[in-house]
């Protein structure tokens, strides 16, 4: 099978259409299994009671939020390097899903924080990093929507994604550093207790489910982007107008 032919958006479009249902179905099934294990099978935590169970959503969402940012930056880099339209479309399609997972991680973090720390928001190092990551996702998306010219929008947001991906680890480190200086929250989610095998299993299943969900949603979004850009009059294979374009006198 020659995969390179799918790098053309038109060839990719039907392939994506065929793949989406499979990813979606498996994602939903795994999510069901993971949530069941997390909420009903996994043992109650002796320190934090039942409230810890939100980590089965929180931790996978936080992982995905960072992972997707890196994937987005990789697509952006590939797009810049190879000047490939589909890569830019992938980067564009990933941003909203990544932002959604970042937001989900923040939301579930707050839900966990209230019973644990007694406050909806604590300047915990991880939560703060997630918040800044959300700002960066917002930056990528806002930059894209502010630029009318599609080519420039693609390339500018690609540059910003790449700058961001260099910055994310630095930000993470600096926030950790800041947190130790200011002696932030002492209870941290992953160190709360030793993890039972079922807990780890449930978390991994949820991560895989989120992964497949992201693929399905991103593919669907890329299809929309292809249609959106494709409908522009210029972008078809035959010359748009059969005119004599240049004549040398």
């Amino acid at each position: 099978m020659n995969w390179s032919k799918y790098s053309a958006p038109q060839a990719f479009y039907p392939l994506a259409g065929r793949l989406i249902p499979w990813f979606a179905v498996v994602a939903v099934a795994l999510m069901g299994v993971g949530l069941y294990m997390g909420f009903f099978v996994a043992p109650t935590d002796f320190q934090q009671g039942e409230s810890y169970r939100i980590i089965f959503v929180h931790v996978p969402a936080a992982w995905m939020s960072m992972f997707l940012y890196v994937v987005m930056a990789i697509w952006a880099g590939v797009g810049m390097g190879l000047n490939a339209r589909l890569s830019f479309m992938m980067a564009q399609a990933i941003a909203p899903t990544g932002a959604m997972f970042t937001f989900l991680a923040l939301l579930t973090g707050a839900m966990w924080g209230k019973p644990t720390w007694g406050a909806w928001w604590v300047w915990d190092a991880r939560l703060t990093s997630e918040l800044i990551l959300l700002f960066q996702y917002a930056g990528v998306m806002l930059l894209r929507t502010s630029i009318d010219d599609m080519r420039r929008a693609d390339r500018s947001s690609a540059v910003f994604s790449l700058v961001g991906v260099v910055n994310v680890p630095i930000i993470y480190f600096s926030v950790q550093w800041w947190n130790t200086l200011h002696q932030g929250a002492s209870v941290s989610m992953s160190t709360g207790s030793k993890m039972a095998a079922t807990m780890l299993m449930a978390m991994l299943i949820m991560t895989v489910a989120f992964w497949l969900y992201s693929i399905a949603v991103v593919l669907a979004r890329v299809r929309c982007i292809v249609v959106e850009r494709d409908s522009l009059p210029v972008w078809d294979e035959k010359p748009a107008v059969s005119q004599e374009v240049a004549e040398v006198r």
Partner: protein
Amino acid sequence: MLQAVGLSCRRGERRLFSDLNVKVEPGTLLAVVGENGSGKTSLLRIFSSLLPPEEGSVLWDGQDIHQLKELYAGQLTYLGHLNGIKDDLTPLENLMSATSLAGEPCSNNGAKEALEAIGLKRPIHHLPSKVLSQGQKRRVTLARLWLSTRPLWLLDEPFTSLDAASTSVVTQRLLAHVQRGGLAVLVTHQEVALPAERLQHLRLAG
């Protein structure tokens, strides 16, 4: 030799031209003509390497200009439709900073002579450029042609807002350039008064 091979260009949603082939030999000038919006300026920007073509390539002595990069920039003088003149600097300062940035620094006297050659008298040299007229500013920009030793000149509407006398001075300068074996590409609405054997036209259809 400057050569365009199978160039096509799209701006936003409009395809401006496609599969454009043209050759500019040393000692000749290519005048790009056509209606507004036909892609003349885009073509010049593609030649300058500012704008990558959608398809095709531009070759300088047989090599792709996007591979030559800075080497190609060292071959050309590009004057766009914007003057790049700072209102707060004098014509003399503007000219000297532009040439030193381009890597062809000139002496104070050299700059003054260039300005005089294009008809800007000495008292004007030390006024802030904001008091100059549009045509005078254009002339400050064009004075660079008297200081340029680069083989390839790319000029976007050089005659805009110039009077008849200045137009003919600039034309004389262009003639001297091509007679020395230089190349030039001009985007223009006006006829260029050069001998026919040195002049080639490219008409872009809108």
